[in-house]
Subunit: 266 residues, 2 copies
DNA sequence: GGAAAAGATTCCATAATGCGGAAAATTTGC
DNA sequence: GCAAATTTTCCGCATTATGGAATCTTTTCC
């Protein structure tokens, strides 16, 4: 049964590498989290063997921790005895942060925009030097851009990300570039600080930004920022499409949708 | 800032009580899970004090475990230092089980049906003696029934739940009644085995079931079952509305929508 | 504005807790 | 049918998490 799959490393959108932080570690919890991440990385239920190998845990140890996770509903087993994520995670996953407001408000606007443009609409927020996709509306057509909720991408390869960097001004852009070294994801990724600064600042000025196959080849985006009533950046709204379908005429629709959401944010 | 809220015990839809199972417990993980559940139970970020009190953990212990959860992205802190769920949970919450298929397939049909009927559409699966809400489509009107994803309800108080019991035949209904004792949630809840059996079996025969304010007063539902290609019950589809708005004419639309989803299930 | 209280955080000696080697049970492959 | 691979249980050991107390920080109230 266990089809010997590669560890499916979806380069861009997958989980960040394990952060070997020094402070405040609890061994069991780190291990449990590693197991959850590993299970999530596989599209199908995973065997104990694989989990042990991937996490470097002794079979016995992994088994014990998984048993406890099962008790708590965070993990389940399929009929074949393989491990998959538990339903309790659904309950937890939908209740986070104050973003529930943002998501609830954005959802209907996003659906309308999706029907208008016929392409995938994404809602993102910034976390550190990454954007996190927290909601999406996908059209009912064969080929469309599929972004996983919870996925991450570095700021400088996405449309809204560039606006988020730009919102901090020139110094913030330089600081970001220095911190991250602007890793390239495709041949179009901006890896030059000067070019990035130029693009970000113009984006802020114009009120929108593009992503021209900078995160993934063949995918193009248009993004705008969302602001709450205090003017703070609350997130970003973007449309993603196969590059040859993308139209700059969408900018106005997107901008209007973004404004509608921003107006409703307390 | 910390408004002294009651532990918001949303009777029906909240998390199940901690199951004191005997086997395979790991203390830290149980405690971590309890902390996550407690945080999820509060609509706003929670202070360490409250978390310690609710979980019965010493402040020092709770603090240490929370620090580790933060390291793993499962928990975050707001500017005031209060705890809320972490974004990593989003990533995990959307990747569970094979239900991704069901959800992906159902989503567009649900949205169409919602627009058609103008009411909330829910997608549920069975887990033990409960239904779990795994997807929803809510209309854009002021008053509509709001069901949280991940929430649970006992089978006998919901429309699809009654069909799920009925699918097992008369013996299954009796067994369910014996196990659970048919607790009442409103004055309309069926607490008599004979009445429940009658309703469930007729539901199976007719291909739909109703919920007449049996889970919550003023809320009425209509439910149908979803079957995969092998004929197994894959889940349930239902429409929920304020009882005075509910129309039996919806049954046909709902049934058709359910069939459309069932047909697409491998 | 200062003192007192409440809450959050760090420290550390202690033993309880989780660890993992190995063996038993179960499943899979040939 | 046996043999190999994998899962599960067991148990002595020391690593790991524990929680009381001390310290630091923030809030409250006079």
């Amino acid at each position: 049964m266990t089809s010997a799959k590669h560890p499916p490393s979806s380069a861009l959108t997958s989980a960040p590498a394990p952060k070997p932080q020094a402070a405040a570690r609890i061994q069991v919890i780190d291990r449990a989290a590693a197991l959850l991440d590993t299970i999530a990385r596989y599209p199908e239920p995973v065997s104990l063997k694989i989990l042990g190998a991937e996490t470097g845990l002794h079979a016995s140890t992994a088994h014990r921790i998984l048993a406890s996770l099962i008790q708590n509903g965070l993990v389940e087993r399929d009929p074949a005895g393989h491990y998959r994520l538990g339903l309790r995670l659904l309950q937890l996953g939908v209740r986070l942060r104050g973003d529930v407001d943002l998501r609830a408000i954005a959802r209907p606007v996003m659906e309308t925009l999706r029907d208008q443009l016929g392409e995938s609409i994404n809602l993102t927020i910034r976390e550190g030097d990454e954007v996190v996709y927290i909601e999406k509306a996908t059209p009912n057509r064969m080929i469309h851009v599929q972004q996983l909720i919870g996925a991450r991408a570095p700021l400088h390869v996405t449309a809204v990300g560039k606006l988020m960097i730009g919102a901090g001004g020139a110094e913030a852009i330089n600081a970001y570039a220095e911190r991250t070294n602007l890793p390239a994801y495709t041949r179009n990724t901006l890896t030059d600080v000067a070019a990035l600064r130029e693009v970000c600042l113009r984006g802020i000025h114009e009120g929108y930004a593009l992503d021209d196959e900078e995160a993934e080849l063949d995918v193009g985006c248009i993004g705008v920022l969302l602001h709450d009533s205090t003017g703070r950046v609350a997130g970003g709204l973007s449309v993603s499409a196969p590059i040859e379908r993308r139209q700059l005429a969408w900018i106005e629709d997107l901008r209007r949708a973004g404004q509608r959401i921003s107006e409703q944010l307390g």
